[in-house]
Subunit: 327 residues, 2 copies
């Protein structure tokens, strides 16, 4: 197996597979604009080959799979380069910060067996899978109101390109995307229309980077979803992220917080169902999807669909009125 890591800004979950596969050939490159962050990654992966230019890596190293974690707006361009060479792609989100990029990715995958997966690690975590199980197995009846929070520490600083809207793409794509994907993944109910807002009060040095965003959705069944994300988690908080999900249904409420999944339904009162299903390491699930062994959690189709939902949501939150989702 020949695996390449492009860019130094993503999560690169496939690193999780390296320890168990010492025979794999590994290469690392910058993302075309920034090599500094990727070099740290390259130095951390013993025996990896370094390329300054991702195009040269693709042509000379000829990887079977690329893991992309670039300056966010470049993820999609690198994915297109790899797909055009029939290389399987696992990318951090967002895979598209513009409709033009998404259209290019659709063209490159449509009617082919090319693989384009987006890393949404929550889909692999047991607490969220338990919430999804609760909905799918009818524990909460029909989904009525779904809410999700993603709150991160900002840390001492973020890369300066966060202030460049064209390169950063927006906090909805970078952070709220987890929650937007999660509600769709766990509730199973499609989004019907969206509106939203956001702003930046706490980090004026980062200009157009929103320190918070919020999106409101009407679901296709008449229910409602709310997503909000922020960079406001204090440094002194006990953990880096404060990720939450609550789905209230006609017969019960399921909720994830602090890594636990709690269900209230039927006559049993509140109970912890975190371990009902169990999770899988993200890299294992992604590799299964690359090999075509499982498409339940990650697939090219899902990647393209959620990318469109995210762009639509961002458009909606920049507009004045509700925006309907296509189809």
């Amino acid at each position: 197996m020949r695996l390449a890591f492009l860019g130094g800004f993503g999560h690169h979950y496939l690193r999780g597979a390296l320890a168990a596969n010492p025979d794999w050939q590994i290469a690392v490159s910058g993302d075309g604009q920034d090599s500094e962050a990727a070099k740290h990654l390259g130095n951390a992966i013993k025996g990896s080959h370094w390329f300054d230019d991702p195009r040269i890596l693709l042509d000379e190293f000829k990887p079977d799979i690329v893991s992309i974690g670039a300056i966010y707006a470049l993820n999609g361009e690198l994915a297109a380069l790899a797909l055009g060479r029939d290389i399987a792609v696992v990318s951090d989100k967002p895979i598209a910060t513009s409709w033009a990029t998404l259209e290019r990715l659709r063209e490159l995958t449509n009617g082919t067996s090319r693989v384009l997966l987006t890393e949404f690690p929550f889909r692999s975590q047991k607490e969220f899978r338990a919430a999804r199980w609760a909905v799918q197995s009818g524990q909460i009846g029909e989904v009525v109101l779904a809410t999700s929070q993603k709150s991160y520490r900002f840390g001492a600083a973020r890369p300066s390109w966060y202030a460049d809207r064209e390169l950063y793409g927006g906090t909805l794509l970078w952070i709220a995307s987890h929650s937007i994907d999660l509600i769709r993944f766990c509730s199973g109910v499609p989004y019907k229309r969206a509106i939203g807002t956001g702003g930046n009060i706490s980090r004026p040095n980062y200009g157009t980077m929103e320190d918070h965003v919020a999106a409101l959705y009407e679901l296709s069944n008449g229910g409602t979803a709310i997503v909000h994300a922020d960079f406001l988690r204090p440094q002194s908080a006990p953990t880096h992220g404060d990720d939450r999900l609550r789905i209230a249904g006609s017969k019960g409420v399921v909720e994830v917080r602090d890594g636990r999944c709690l269900l209230i339904s039927g006559a049993l009162g509140e109970r912890d169902i975190t371990n009902t299903i169990g999770g899988t390491p993200v890299h294992e699930e992604l590799l299964k999807a690359v090999r075509g062994e499982s498409t339940e959690f990650y697939s090219t189709q899902e990647s393209l669909e959620i990318a469109a939902i995210l762009l639509q949501s961002r458009d909606a939150s920049e507009g004045q009125s509700w925006k309907e989702f296509a189809g």
Copy 2:
């Protein structure tokens, strides 16, 4: 003191003052449309005088204060009757389910010393006062993102007039109003514009009654607020209500849940500040406001302002685009 209770559907917090004031004269009446529920109240207050008709009560019993808890759309009409007779009014929310009613209440109080207070019990509770203190004293820096949840049990049944939009007024006015008031009370930041949605999936027998509503606000400082309310709390849940508030600021996060207020700010990590300020029984605070001794928590001005915010929010959630608040 002559105190009258009109209607059998509200909380009537002034009942809390009766035990300590056995010399007060008490009367109870229906709300003009329903006497059944009010009769239960009358029977529960020993020695109270019963009137079928609230107008006759006002003219014959001549109360100093009326406590109103009627079929929701009638609160404002009864308040107008009392104000026109220079009787102080303490009413459950909503005090107005239409702009015409609100306009009438404005006319009746404008330039007078007449008293019209709305019961918002959260303003008297120590956990929410602690959150307000945290914001006012600068613990969380500037307010960026405020969210609040109100979730109730529906119970076995609700009055049949919940299905009549004209009488019920909407779940935003009845339940979400607590959260909308709370964010304004605790954050101190005015609402700038609103949009929202809602629906009814779980209680089809109640027609236009929303089993959930959600409202999204832009705040005047560029921050965002989100409110959602639902009737979806399962009967088997440990408590009747699940009321939450989270205010994330530029320097910290304060949060209320399960009756506790937690603050994360500075270097101290998370700490419980629930008892920082302390609460007051709602009836004591309301009576102080009636006597003109304190207007910090309840006042005629606040009643009218929040009533306008609620109607504006309901309009916004029924429309297609953002609605700006006046002023």
